[in-house]
Symmetry: C2
Subunit: 186 residues, 2 copies
């Protein structure tokens, strides 16, 4: 019973507050390093493996790695063996904003029944293809529309969405400039 | 035989140049709109479906949708049912820079035998958890190290990596500020 009362929206709220307190005492445990390995297959197809990461003072290894195939659709000269990288970016963003929203709702005692969202992002491929230097290369902007089922007031839900935007790591990686440093190793 | 000669690194080079010429004649066909739908499951777990997108003047629908489960590892209060959103962001970035590199190599007539990369990104979770307002919320930076097997010179490969960084949509979505617009619909 005690265990059940600590959970809200599937989030261990007591564990969440304990984590926050532990970080306040020892900020270095908040430093995480996430990792991925990628292997080109052919044409627009490549495969990423996600397995270990560093955080809370140690390296964590999954029981088995997560593997993701990316490809391009035929109109972008691929074979459609997987979603393409810009669709993976939407996937990352959707997940991060949703989880941030649900964790904050849990910390605030707001019960959430359902969260759905649709995402859209516009890209003008003249940037990728170097046809026009004045065209932005990445997404021009990304829109997320949430539909949330909860007994909380509209005002509370609006506040949660704003908090999620402000504190989601992927949303901030995208909306703020984040250095991408590329090198060749032998 | 003609078909074979048009392909380099698995990329239809003639198709690539035809696409570029078609866009130069009619720039509107370069406008793409990518989409995703997300559904919260429980706690840190949610699921994204990628299926249709708009581009080259029409909507394209896959024969079956690509579905991605995201979750958090136990140290971040999840059940590890999937890679987490910031790992999906690395996956997106790895794929996009690799594909951009391979497509440009093909256009330039550079044969590539193998491309591998490792990615790392640092995040201080005090931003996510609202413990310190001065901490960056998203990735501080992301490092990509490429290992490329090709007969091309080091100089050519270095040039290709720089082109890939400059023209990869996901790398630019991350390294430049990209507006993320979030709203609630009923």
């Amino acid at each position: 019973m005690a265990q059940k009362q600590e959970m809200l929206n599937g989030v261990n709220v007591e564990g969440l507050f304990q984590t926050i307190e532990a970080i306040k005492e020892e900020p270095s445990i908040a430093k995480f390093n996430f990792r991925a390995k990628n292997e080109w297959i052919d044409g627009g197809e490549n495969r990423t493996t996600v397995n270990d990461f560093y955080g809370a003072g140690k390296t964590h290894v999954r029981s088995k790695p997560f593997v993701f195939t990316k490809d391009e659709p035929p109109v972008l000269l691929g074979n459609d063996h997987g979603a393409n990288p810009v669709e993976y970016a939407l996937t990352a963003l959707a997940g991060c904003v949703t989880t941030t929203l649900v964790y904050y709702a849990s910390a605030k005692g707001v019960k959430i029944n359902k969260v759905e969202s649709t995402l859209e992002g516009d890209i003008d491929l003249r940037g990728l293809l170097n046809i026009d230097e004045n065209v932005k290369v990445g997404y021009e902007s990304i829109q997320i529309k949430f539909k949330i089922d909860s007994d909380a007031s509209e005002e509370t839900l609006q506040e949660l969405v704003e908090i999620a935007k402000k504190h989601s790591p992927v949303a901030n990686t995208i909306s703020n400039p984040t250095p991408v440093i590329i090198s060749i190793s032998k």
